[in-house]
């Protein structure tokens, strides 16, 4: 029974502990003198997953010591196999933000754009996250 309670508590913390994290923001020039401004937002996202962290959590809750040790070894292998700087959780597709420029070009029928804000952020729920690139701006009408 105590283990069940611990599991429920752990799961609750994982789910309720979801939070947004801003990694980078860039604000461009804003020109309000050319006409009426209409806001737009373009957002692309990808599932982020930290496999090593997930296995470490598994090692922490494993019932037997040998399973825990095995999982810690797996976490180490995963960590050294995915070496390098990370912003948010790693993703399995490095091209998810490739289309933002073409989307921004297409979004305004007037083809006049100003006030572009680029945001790189993430929504984290334990070892899983939504890795987001968001572009906000204004069409000049």
């Amino acid at each position: 029974m105590p283990i069940k309670l611990q599991s429920i508590l752990g799961l609750s913390f994982l789910l309720l502990g979801g939070c947004s994290q801003l990694h980078h923001v860039h604000i461009g020039d804003i020109d309000q003198s050319q006409g009426r401004l209409t806001p737009f937002t373009i957002e692309v996202n990808e599932l982020g997953f930290d496999a090593a962290k997930a296995v470490e959590i598994g090692a922490g809750v494993a019932k037997s010591a040998s399973t825990s040790e095995d999982l810690e070894f797996v976490a180490l292998i995963l960590a050294i196999s995915n070496f390098g700087p990370k912003t948010g959780n790693p993703v399995y597709n490095d091209a998810y933000a490739d289309q933002v420029l073409s989307e921004v070009i297409k979004v305004c029928p007037s083809k006049k754009i100003t006030g572009l804000t680029s945001v790189r952020e993430a929504t984290n729920v334990g070892p899983v996250s939504g890795e987001v690139v968001r572009i906000k701006g204004y069409c000049i009408n």
Partner: protein
């Protein structure tokens, strides 16, 4: 069987992860004609790094030089992306530039 499955999972999960650190779009003083008729170019430069030993970031300068060469009249809109492809005790830093060149 259980160990084989675990090994397979580890191999699969350790394949080709990436991290996009920054992706920003900037627009210059543009005219309707430039956005409608400009040519989009793609530039990618990278640097392989082993165990964190890195002494320069010349690949960024190379990307910038290519941008100047490919858009001699300048750009009306630009998207710069900085990302890392992770690997076994090594990684590859990349800079990707997509730009809308001003027509000549």
């Amino acid at each position: 069987m259980k160990k084989l499955f675990s090994l397979l999972m580890v191999v699969m999960l350790s394949a080709c992860t990436s991290s996009i650190h920054m992706s920003q779009v900037d627009v210059g003083t543009n005219s309707q004609q430039e956005l409608a008729s400009g040519k989009v170019i793609n530039i990618e430069q990278s640097q392989k790094i082993f165990l964190g030993f890195v002494y320069d970031s010349n690949y960024v300068d190379q990307a910038y030089k290519q941008l100047l060469l490919q858009c001699p009249n300048g750009t009306s809109m630009i998207n710069v992306e900085y990302l890392t492809n992770h690997g076994f005790l090594s990684w590859t830093d990349k800079i990707r530039i997509k730009a809308l060149c001003k027509p000549g």
